[in-house]
Symmetry: C2
Subunit: 149 residues, 2 copies
DNA sequence: CTTAATCCCGACTATTTTAGTCAAGTATTA
DNA sequence: TAATACTTGACTAAAATAGTCGGGATTAAG
């Protein structure tokens, strides 16, 4: 499990999607403007999110992305794992370095903690984040600015 | 809050230190051998850990590093934050991009979740990780291999 | 049917971070 | 004093991040 700015972008974008999908699919252009993430970068992220069945797409004018499941059934870890796909940890990850059998066990030591973190994030759904008072306030403020622009 | 391989190395190294500091300070060379992390990289990490008052150093023969506080009083987040020091998040982090005042609020949205994660990791002390059964087993196995080598 | 909005895809790139190496110190103890 | 071990700084190869660019494919609307 990793927490990087990439995952942060993804969580923020999907959160924006969740807030605005009331009136049909949400375009990446709209998310890009509201969240200030470059369109091309969003395209890369959403390609992975689509491959991992978190969002689905509708093409053509008026199209965009929708959540594939209910916001209550999408966890924060789902999003982060989808976007971080190929995590080949450096060091003695896969049975080749440190010549011996169990000489180097960095991986195992960290794994325990990593699991706890994943379980924790697995327990937080998009819907729960959306009910957070501060998050709600920010979302409302963003809509106000977008509308006046 | 970020979770990267750098933080993982740091947590693993300090954990190794905690397990072996019974007989005085632990040398980086010993940690390097046991955990298979390059000595020079450990030097960089421990310089930051020392600056953040997590470990203290003893010079000269038989020297090495010791925990500055009790293992129960060092949280996992302490270690990760010490090592990740300068986290200048990309994007609209600091009031310059997106011209307006509150146009871009990516930062705030993510912040809420990030805080929850930090609080979670803040609640996990080194001592607690050490009592984890699997972690203990790995540590014992490592000592056995080190001794026979 | 054409046009425009939108997703889709691949190649390319600048910058930053990771994970080191190397060399020259300084402090301490045996 | 010599060996041990920490300390610092400069440098570097490789990867990840955060994009850009340019072209498609689909489809709703006019």
């Amino acid at each position: 499990m990793r927490l990087t700015t990439k995952g942060r972008y993804a969580v923020t974008a999907v959160l924006d999607l969740a807030f605005h999908q009331g009136k049909g699919p949400v375009s990446l252009a709209a998310i890009s403007e509201r969240q200030c993430i470059s369109l091309s970068y969003l395209e890369q992220l959403f390609a992975k999110l689509r491959r991992n069945d978190i969002v689905s797409s509708t093409r053509g004018p008026g199209g965009g992305y929708s959540l594939q499941r209910n916001a209550a059934e999408i966890s924060v870890s789902d999003i982060i794992l989808a976007v971080d796909e190929s995590v080949k940890m450096a060091g003695c990850g896969d049975s080749d370095a440190c010549d011996g059998d169990y000489q180097c066990l960095t991986h195992d030591l960290w794994q325990e903690l990593s699991n706890e973190i994943r379980e924790f994030l697995d327990g937080i759904s998009l819907a729960e984040v959306m009910t957070n008072q501060k998050v709600k306030e920010v979302s409302i403020r963003q809509d106000a600015v977008s509308a006046s622009a």
